[in-house]
């Protein structure tokens, strides 16, 4: 098997807004994602993290450059590339179990198999008892667990996660980070995880990709070799976090200098 699941090559993305304004979101982004890698993308807000993830998922087309997934260019969504969104993405009119089975339903799987698989993945995320509940009956953290179960039930090769824990409180967030690592260690999917929390990135990632401010470029790639579970009290943990925070601060500082120069 090829060492790389996905190869992102010279991606440029320019959006044209409804008013006809061009927004340069990504500039010359190249990235190789290894099999079983846990990659975190951090960067100032608006630097194009979501855009990059959506291009990898096939939800958005790059202006130039290519994403090659398992040897094939990505041009449209592919169920081997699963995605989890920050916002609410469960169907509010379906039960939790039916939400988890959604991908299998699209694949035309019989109802018995859908039930079985959705139970298996609800067990995995600890929501066995909520199979017949509706999403509005769940807390934010539980809903993201369901979203994770739904993505995993489709058995993707790569899991693209766009700030999935961004809306959760600090405690729930740490709980879910731990749980995600447990799941990942169990099935070793490849994960590309976007976050604006440096702490989260250092806790989770094998590799952290630091992006520069808009138009997003790759500023630095940091390998983290600390064994898991990582201890936030470890001095190395603190040093790494501080180093990445410094980079981000520089980016944001540049941003505000630009703003001052422009008289904003």
């Amino acid at each position: 098997m090829n060492k790389y699941v996905a190869v992102i090559k010279n991606i440029d993305k320019t959006f044209v807004t409804k008013k006809g304004q061009a927004i340069h979101a990504l500039q010359n982004v190249s990235l190789k994602i290894k099999n079983n890698d846990f990659v975190c993308l951090v960067g100032p807000s608006g630097c194009g993290k979501s855009t990059l993830l959506r291009i990898i998922a096939g939800l958005e087309q790059a202006s130039t450059g290519t994403v090659v997934f398992r040897g094939q260019p990505v041009t449209k969504p592919d169920k081997r590339l699963g995605m989890i969104f920050q916002e609410y993405s469960l169907l509010p009119w379906r039960t939790v179990a039916d939400n988890v089975a959604l991908g299998l339903e699209f694949a035309g799987k019989p109802i018995s198999e859908r039930r079985e698989v959705s139970k298996k993945f609800l067990d995995l995320v600890g929501l066995t008892d909520f199979a017949t509940s509706y999403p509005y009956e769940l807390s934010g953290g539980m809903r993201q667990r369901v979203a994770i179960a739904r993505a995993l039930a489709n058995d993707p090769d790569v899991l693209l996660m766009d700030e999935p824990f961004g809306a959760l409180d600090a405690h729930t967030r740490i709980l879910l980070q731990r749980e995600l690592l447990r799941i990942w260690e169990g099935n070793r999917k490849t994960i590309v995880f976007v976050t604006h929390s440096v702490d989260e990135a250092v806790y989770l990632a094998d590799r952290i990709i630091v992006m520069s401010k808009s138009p997003g470029r790759i500023r630095d790639i940091i390998n983290i070799n600390m064994p898991r579970p990582r201890n936030r009290a470890n001095p190395l943990y603190g040093q790494l976090s501080a180093r990445i925070l410094d980079m981000l601060e520089e980016e944001v500082a540049q941003l505000s200098t630009v703003a001052i120069v422009k008289g904003l």
Partner: protein, 279 residues
Amino acid sequence: MNLKSLYKFAIIMVVPLFLFSLWWYVAVQIKNPVILPNVEDVIELLSNPTNNLISMGSLASNIIVSLVRVIVGYCLAALIAIPMGILMGYYSLVHNLLNNFIGLFRPIPPLAWVPLVLAWFGVSSLATLTGIEHGQWYIYLNNIKLSMIFIIFIGAFFPILTSSIYGVQSVNKTLLDSALVLGAKSSEVFGKILLPAAAPSIINGMRTGLGVAWMCLVAAEMLPGSLSGVGYLITHAYTIARTDIVIAGMISIGLVGALLDYLFRFIENKKFSWQHLAR
């Protein structure tokens, strides 16, 4: 019934009881049934809905005729407005193509169409359209004039169209994206995500549309060629100074309208409770 619901019932009844007493009192004072008939007379009429009235058929049979007219016009409106609204909500090209044009027609009150509608359709009815010229079916179909259907259609069309457009446009894009990454085909995104997500808004528009259609009824039944229906009953009773029948007819229109609205609300609460509960 516990004390709380008894209390709630009492609260609901305060205003109607007050108005009824006022009506009763004023009617007794002025002693002129043409201006204001006695409460008893109207209640008498309402409690015997199958009695034949001034050779115009009974209250009940006229309500049924009216209902059939409204349902025909309304269904036609829904059948056109819903698909059109969904297309306009989904494809911005279709939206741009039609929206301004439709926007010109929206503010025209259904009644303003009457002269044009008469010129177009005259007294032709569903019987003319289907070519049936005698027998029991002719009597039924001839009761449903095209002009009436058109007025009712216009009334129901715009609320349904507007809310269908809005319903589709306001579907959370993340829901569509998440279905796509799970491997949904376009038809599945449409049928399993877009439609169910837009359904509460569409149903809401259908409810409003039915209300407006029902309100257009009297206008529609005042058109020439109309020989039945609650609207006709009211206008005809007025010409022979039977104000009690007028009021009984008005109350029936109100009651039936409220009942239809209640039916829709019931469906909304049963099938779409997720919409209010979703956060």
